[in-house]
Symmetry: none
Subunit: 267 residues, 2 copies
Amino acid sequence: MFDYTEDMKEKLSFFNERQQKITEMVDKSGSLRVADLSKQFNVSEETIRRDFEKLEAQGLLNRIHGGAVRIEQKSEIPIPKRRAKNIEEKEMIAAKAASYVEDGDIIAMDASTTTLIMTKYIKGKSLTVITNSIGVSLEFAQESDIRVILIGGYLAESSMSLVGNFAERVIQDYHVDKFFFSCLGVDFKRGVSEIHEDQALVKKQLISISEELFLLADYSKFGEKSLFRLCDITEADYLITDNKVPINTIRELNNLGVTGIVGEKSD
Amino acid sequence: MFDYTEDMKEKLSFFNERQQKITEMVDKSGSLRVADLSKQFNVSEETIRRDFEKLEAQGLLNRIHGGAVRIEQKSEIPIPKRRAKNIEEKEMIAAKAASYVEDGDIIAMDASTTTLIMTKYIKGKSLTVITNSIGVSLEFAQESDIRVILIGGYLAESSMSLVGNFAERVIQDYHVDKFFFSCLGVDFKRGVSEIHEDQALVKKQLISISEELFLLADYSKFGEKSLFRLCDITEADYLITDNKVPINTIRELNNLGVTGIVGEKSD
DNA sequence: GGGTAAAATGTTCGATTATACAGAAGATAT
DNA sequence: ATATCTTCTGTATAATCGAACATTTTACCC
């Protein structure tokens, strides 16, 4: 006889009851502490951390030191802010990155502030540039020796860039010598990550057709991790950063086979 | 010994959450003081400064002596300006054409002066717009109810538009209700023609996926013919022109099944 | 039912992180 | 200018984390 009892549905839950509860709790209260949950559920703190790890991977919460917080789902419209400040570091990084661009290169550039700054250092060269940034293409529009390919897509107002899955089909036909891109976080374990899924998609595509990867990340990016993983840190060939990054970090990079480069003040 | 009660501490806020709160607070009030926040969150001033440092690096606020302020943002994308001949006629045509755009439409617009002018008459509507014109997309960038799809391609500097054969692959997936486009020549025998091959290609593609065709042509276009044929004149559903066109021409159009429409002065 | 592989959980410990504190250097106001 | 407030720098410390390994629980198969 079949006996559909309560027990059966328990089995079917794809994550355990505790994780389910944690998800509800974080949605309700906004933040949770590892220590608290450990006591509350009568399990070790490690277990709670492993729960967090899984839930984070599923995009159900964000981990922070000491606990976890609810994911704020507001990134659609209200943050056109990501620009401006630590211009100084970005300027250094951009100038350094530009020095790796050679005549005849086919390069790709993402839609970040740093690459936008980069444009002024590589004007005058003879290049093919693939990008999804309207700003970058406008900068090169007047340059007769630079051929610009703008990847099509939905216009993301906040970053003035183009995103969307149909870039995929187009990008695959191209070969790129050097891809210059930024990210939201660089973490030795979690790799290179980005907060916006659509930007992440485009970058991943560009990564897949590029021979050399130049990751541009100022000091504030180190140790940060965000939801969407672009690639492993070791996949990058060069990581260009600024002089606020500890020398040990650079050493560690070099040990991993990533050429860590520190930009210098040029002005 | 200290004698503080639970409510004094209110320290469920840990690292990330505090930074998040600070971001909200600075957006709301415009400015914050280090000393105030230090008391409010029950952490040392150094901690608040480090928070500021990180948030500043992310471009979420600006630091000042003693505190931090909201960052005021200006658009850094230059809006391309255009000058053209027959502005008056084009204005009339554009306004008329815009009156055919309805809420909910999926429209396509080419990279002509007339469609660029058109944009100002259809702002505020709720639309999906497919275009290969950077100018058109920039005009709509701030419009929250307009979803812009920019067709990718090589950047043609002269017209600030995108051309190239890979538009084909992408365009085919879409359906367009109304396509608004211009041309170089309209001739009853030779049809609608264009001088630039690459622009012609994109327009042909858009024509093939569009239900209704709105051809925008001022009086100077009639009788002109150019190298690349876009379509037969009878394929257009509407032809919007100006009052310098002889009334006989309009009649002839109507006889061919094309609704000839004359724009009027609106100012 | 017993055996076994896989998954979940616990334990330990070195590494990392957030934070406080103190003193020097810098900025501001009177 | 000088007194005061703010910031920066380095150091110390406690909490927290992550990795490796040990143990338990669960699932599955014969």
